[in-house]
Amino acid sequence: MASSSPTDGWELVENHFYRKIQSYTGLWEEDPLDLSEYLVAAAPYGGALALYRTDTEPRAYRGTQQKPSIDLYTCSGKPIRKLPWDKGVVKGLGWSDDEKLLVITADGKVRCYHDLQGDFSQFTLGYGTETHGVRDVRFWSSGFVALTGDNRLIAVSRYDEPRPRLLADPEVPQETPIHSWAIVPPAYTLSRHVEVFLAVEKTIYIVDQTEVQNQMMDQGPFLHISVSPNGNLTALYSESERVWVVSTDFQNKWSEVDVGMGGTHPIDMVWCSNDSVVLAWQDEVQMMGPNGIALRYFYDDRVHVLPDVDGVKLLSGGKLEFLQKVPDILEEIFRIGSTSPASVLLDAIDQLEKESPKADDDIQLIRQQLPEAVNSCIQAAGYEFNVHWQKQLLKAASFGKSVLELYNSDEFVEMTETLRVLNAVRYYEVGMPLTYDQYLRLTPEKLIERLLNRQQHLFALRISEYLHLATAPKIYIHWACLKVRHSSLPEDEICRTIVDKLSSQPGISFEEVARTAFNEGRGHLATQLLNYEPRAGKQVPLLLSMEEDDIALDKAIESGDTDLIQFVLMHLKKKLPLAQFFRVVNPRPVAYSLIESEARQDDRELLKDLYYQDDRRADGAYVVLEEALMADELPKELDKLSLTTKLLSDSKLHLVDAAAISEFSALLTFQENLERILASPYLHLSLNDTALQLLKQNHSTQANKLKSEFKIPDTTYTYLRLRAWIHRRDWPAIEEYSIKNKKSPIGWVPFFEELANAKQPKVAALFVEKCGGAPRERMERWERIGMVVEACKVAIQVGDWAAVEELKVKLKNEGERREVERLVEGKKRR
């Protein structure tokens, strides 16, 4: 093929070249559209076009009234779908980065079409838009801002869970016109939230969520504002036909240009990538460089300028063109007279094809920069649209790398693969004029998604396999969902086809397919498909909507996810009568305990019902006991306690517990009485503590009464008395007790211990011998209270001379030592 020059359509603007490429021609050939009647929006990254015919201008009668619709086309003009539209005036038509179509009506309704096939979700903006109306809308990659009739701004920043938020009030009266406005997407602002520029009177307001800032300019009014794709620069077009390019923070002015078209203002102003500004009139497009208008293109009819990330699309009269700055790498190779290594390498391949020895001369010439040249050729191939030149560049790269001894070909292989995909999707039947940059930004996975939205499953699968992507399951699922939706085959057969195709694939979620089937009213098919879903948890919500309650609960339990189980239980509890609810829950222990534990926290009545129907008397009674303990006044508490006793007495198994509760009531009554008589707090002390408290305060009559009434054992009581004496430091009482009683119910050791702990050696000494025990124990006790001499006496008495020697060291003074010596002598003598 004799090919055109690679620099066809290149035009020099200042120091750089721009090129305009014809992406597609012959759009709407059979049925030409008058684009001036239409609102046009193009999805980013070569995505679909949405066209909506506006009613603002009179137009030629076209026979019978057509139903209004929003029409979706590929960039090559192939119809994708007609979305019927009867919701009134459209004020905003735009796309998100993931090719969701957003339609905003004058009365504040928003529709978000998820795929290109007409599935949508809907929400309203609120904040009075129903009455004031929406004037205009601006979109960014994942959200939009609406300007309302009363000059307020509403932002929506996500579409999966839309939450319209009112931005700060610019306080512009309703009558004051807003000349133009623009938004800075959240990714490019300091606050990471969307900001809005409003051109009001002669100045510009910057509005964000919390504040409004007046820039105090006087060059306005500004009829157009446009923010560059990377958010760094802002272009302003004023009534005086001048264009300013300033930094987005309005601190620096980069250029100021007089456009001067004699009073006709452009209808649109957009950025072409981040390098230049494009102004559009009805049938004329001008591109402005830093020093003034540089390029003019004229058209026969209305031209729509549709910005994309790295250039602008120009749509007019059945032609779609793409205007962009020529990528540096292409410029470096193809510029006339270029001597860059890559350019020389390209020449070499030319010479090689002519079988000329000059090819080798070329190689020798750039020997040093050969790796660089190869890389440049590979990169350049990516940016080139013409297949012939792509091939030439790749051939050059291939030739160059064959000369190199060591070269990693990954990049080369990757580029050939990428180009194959790019050329395939650019083909007019598919109609996605993706540039290499756009492809990199879009990512192959998202490209697959877009193909799925166009129902190109086989194509998507091929690309997915070709590029070794992990998107195959997604493609199969999408396919299966469509099958479920549109197939007219018998359900069993559909199920078989789907399962045949999908079961060979790992990681397939049948839940999504089953849900689609269910939404289509194919309940049986849904159940069948759901059985193939590997994730138990995923089946639950669908099963619930299918009213398969029992299975849903079982699957939730199987998943082990308590949140799911609880969710099902909440659902069932609301739906079923209580008795039936319990019938479902009873045989499932996991669910049962969850209900029990949940009810314990915040639904005690349910808890009682649960225990009652399950015949868990004691547990039911204990719930009442808990209530008694939490009661705020005594009569209520006693009432609850007697109820507890009654419930427990119903069964022979719990008589002991019932008695314990009665005892509790009696104790409380006793304590209440004490409080009355003694005017000090006794309620809710334990039985032992009550006695202890009485003994501490020396109310022995009451204590004795308590002891006999509640049968406190002597052992315990003696201990309590001892503790009370120690507390009161009533040593004489202890002495008296020890004299009066030969034996104590708890023996004498505790007396000694408590006294020793209380550091009362003198009193404790009374008990050492009473405690008895082996001589060594006695020695230890004496020693513990510091009476080493006594310890020695014991040791001497039993003739434990080793112990005597050990103890001697601990004697305090000479006197003691002498005494011990004397005793030892005495013993030995005897």
Partner: protein, 636 residues
């Protein structure tokens, strides 16, 4: 403490902090943070209060009963809470209250830990506030307390698992472990003991399949790890004895005496001196937050390995702590004396540069001496020794009836209820229940000594299987009579100075849980017939050699191999290198004690160079906490 060579866990903290700050950044401007009390500790471990301030948090409130007055709140209200129904209702109440304020225009964001739940949203929906709230999630699972210790810090997991039979913590544990697997590869072998442990293993294995579907992973993305050899899952219910005994390591005793919370302990200044006020962090109060401690100002001491002295002391038996402190005191004073030797200016400068390190060490020495003294007061008391005597007699298998008198006496003397209940449950668990007559007597004595509300406590303990009437050994969860012998739980000669067996942590009792781990990773140390596996076996040899010995331990025994495609396994080996050093993950479901951590570190040290151990747990537990789970928490 140096990070594990095989697996550096510090990324977890960074990751959690980053996620938290990202969430805060998402809400513009100044904000009020409403924090779930249950999370304060975990958040405190992740972020300092000053960091939160840098991200616009101006005040912190607790999420609790009663609505926070709107005048105190910023327009942006950020709630960070666990995804419980109770919290959902509290959040709903606050949002409802705020929305009635004319001109309030509050923006509410709720971040749920560790994930968004259907139930939470459902409750907000029912209360009619779902539309007014932005809901997000804060996936906080494992928190590294130390490089070798990851905790979920789920404080009530023991109560939920054994009393409420609510298995949420199993699911969360599985999630957390799955995250580890996604980062470091599948555990080649999942070994474990206990029915709930098996439930966790099952959930984990199912989750593996689900993750593949959810995230569209290829076979290469989830291959068996070449770093981790295996995971041993031990369920608390299999070995309740270990936490019921009084821990005798330094760290264990600090926990028993003062209670360690999130690696921190609050002490009365009289014990350790007032000291400098620690930098306020997210959890602790600060003068400009409305949260103020009403009690006497306590001093918070961080107990982690950044304190080198503590690092040295924490895992030793308490009997040797005094000696070590002594030695260090001597060395320190010698170091200080060094200043007299410093003659030339350079020498003086050298000394001064060391000075801040010395001062730090000095301060730490002061703190630990204070604590050790305070603990010694307890350990010298006859209460403590009586308890210890009863515990050790029971553990050794002596006739329980001989111990009953001592337990009764402790009650009469007014010992704290938890201590007594620990002894009773210990007897029940070790001896397959109490004689019915004894049980009735004890129950009466507990009621009389501590109040009749403990009817509920005793009932709860029975439900947890911790306090039961006599039952045949075959029905017991774990039959200690056989296990004691088979696994050599009682070691008579313990060298506390220079231990040669894990039994040093209880001065003579080796924790069953750790013996089980030894059955898997250190077979020869048990000196029993553990046949050695020949050649390279995936993930070690599991329980092999000990199948008989562990028969008496309750619950299901399992040993599952997670395989992947050969290609993937090889690829991973090439990527990470095949290292001889093995790493075992030990996961405690239902919590572990400081003694168990000490024992595992002891094991790892013995195998240094060959094996590392990463300890993971749902939380830190001790006997008192187990008992508190049973004691009803009632407001009067």
């Amino acid at each position: 403490m140096a990070p594990l060579e095989g697996l550096n866990t510090s990324y977890l903290k960074d990751q959690s902090l980053k996620k938290l700050l990202n969430l805060l950044e998402g809400v513009r401007g100044k904000k009020s943070l409403v924090l779930d009390r249950a999370l304060s500790g975990s958040v405190g471990l992740i972020a300092k209060f000053s960091t939160l301030q840098d991200y616009g948090v101006d005040t912190i409130f607790w999420l609790q009963d009663g609505v926070i007055e709107h005048t105190k709140l910023q327009k942006n209200v950020v709630v960070l809470c666990n995804a419980t129904s109770r919290n959902a209702r509290l959040v709903a109440a606050q949002v409802q209250a705020n929305s009635t304020i004319p001109g309030g225009e509050f923006e509410h964001s709720v971040f749920l830990v560790p994930r968004r739940t259907l139930v939470f949203e459902k409750i907000l929906e029912e209360q009619g506030v779902l539309g007014d709230v932005t809901i997000g999630e804060y996936p906080l699972y494992f928190i590294p307390l130390e490089p070798d210790l990851l905790s979920l810090e789920l404080e009530s997991s023991f109560e939920e698992l054994y009393l409420r039979k609510d298995y949420t913590s199993i699911f969360y544990s599985a999630k957390a472990l799955m995250e580890l697997q996604q980062k470091f590869g599948l555990f080649p072998r999942i070994i474990g003991k206990g029915d709930l442990a098996w439930k966790l293993a099952e959930t984990l294995m199912r989750m593996r399949n689900e993750v593949v579907v959810d995230e569209g992973l290829g076979p290469l993305d989830l291959a068996p790890s070449s770093i981790i050899e295996n995971i041993v899952i031990i369920e608390r219910g299999v070995d309740p004895v270990t936490p019921l005994l009084t821990q005798l390591t330094y760290e264990g005793l600090i926990d028993e005496t003062f209670g360690i919370k999130h690696s921190k302990v609050e002490l009365d200044p009289t014990i350790i001196g007032a000291g400098p006020t620690p930098a306020p962090n997210a959890a602790s109060s600060s003068s400009n937050t409305p949260i103020t401690t009403t009690a006497t100002k306590k001093r918070t001491v961080n107990l982690d390995s950044s304190d080198t002295l503590y690092e040295e002391l924490r895992d030793t038996n308490f009997t040797v702590v005094g000696n070590i402190l002594n030695k260090i005191a001597l060395r320190l004073s010698a170091d200080y004396e060094g200043r007299h030797q410093a003659k030339t200016v350079t020498e003086i400068r050298q000394f001064v540069s060391k000075l801040s390190g010395l001062q730090q060490e000095h301060a730490s020495l002061k703190v630990h001496t204070g604590m050790a003294e305070e603990i010694t007061k307890t350990t010298r008391s006859d209460f403590f020794n009586k308890c210890l005597e009863v515990q050790q007699n029971l553990a050794a298998g002596s006739d329980p009836s001989s111990q009953n008198g001592s337990i009764s006496e402790l009650m009469m003397r007014g010992t704290p209820v938890e201590t007594v209940l620990r002894l009773l449950t210990l007897e029940s668990v070790l001896c397959n229940g109490l004689r019915p007559k004894d049980l009735d007597n004890f129950k009466r004595e507990v009621r009389h000594a501590y109040g009749h509300q403990h009817i509920l406590t005793l009932d709860a303990l029975e439900k947890m299987g911790l306090l039961l009437p006599k039952h045949p050994a075959s029905l017991a969860r774990t039959n200690y009579n056989t296990v004691r012998k088979n696994l050599n739980l009682i070691v008579d000669e313990v060298n506390e100075q220079d231990p040669d067996d894990i039994a040093y942590v209880y001065s003579g009792y080796a924790p069953l849980s750790i013996r089980l781990v030894q059955c898997v990773v250190q077979k020869d140390a048990l000196g029993l017939a553990g046949s050695k596996g020949k050649g390279h076996v995936t993930g070690g040899s599991g329980w092999r050699g000990f199948e008989e010995a562990i028969r008496g331990v309750g619950g299901r025994t399992f040993d599952e191999i997670q395989s992947g495609e050969d290609k993937a396994v090889r690829a991973r080996m090439i990527l990470n290198g095949y290292n001889e050093r093995k790493l075992t993950v030990v996961f405690f479901l239902g919590g572990c004690t400081f003694t168990e951590i000490a024992a595992l570190r002891f094991l790892a040290k013995k195998d240094a160079g060959k094996r590392e151990i990463l300890i993971c747990t749902t939380g830190i537990i001790n006997g008192d906490k187990m008992m508190k789970a049973a004691i009803p928490n009632l407001k009067h």
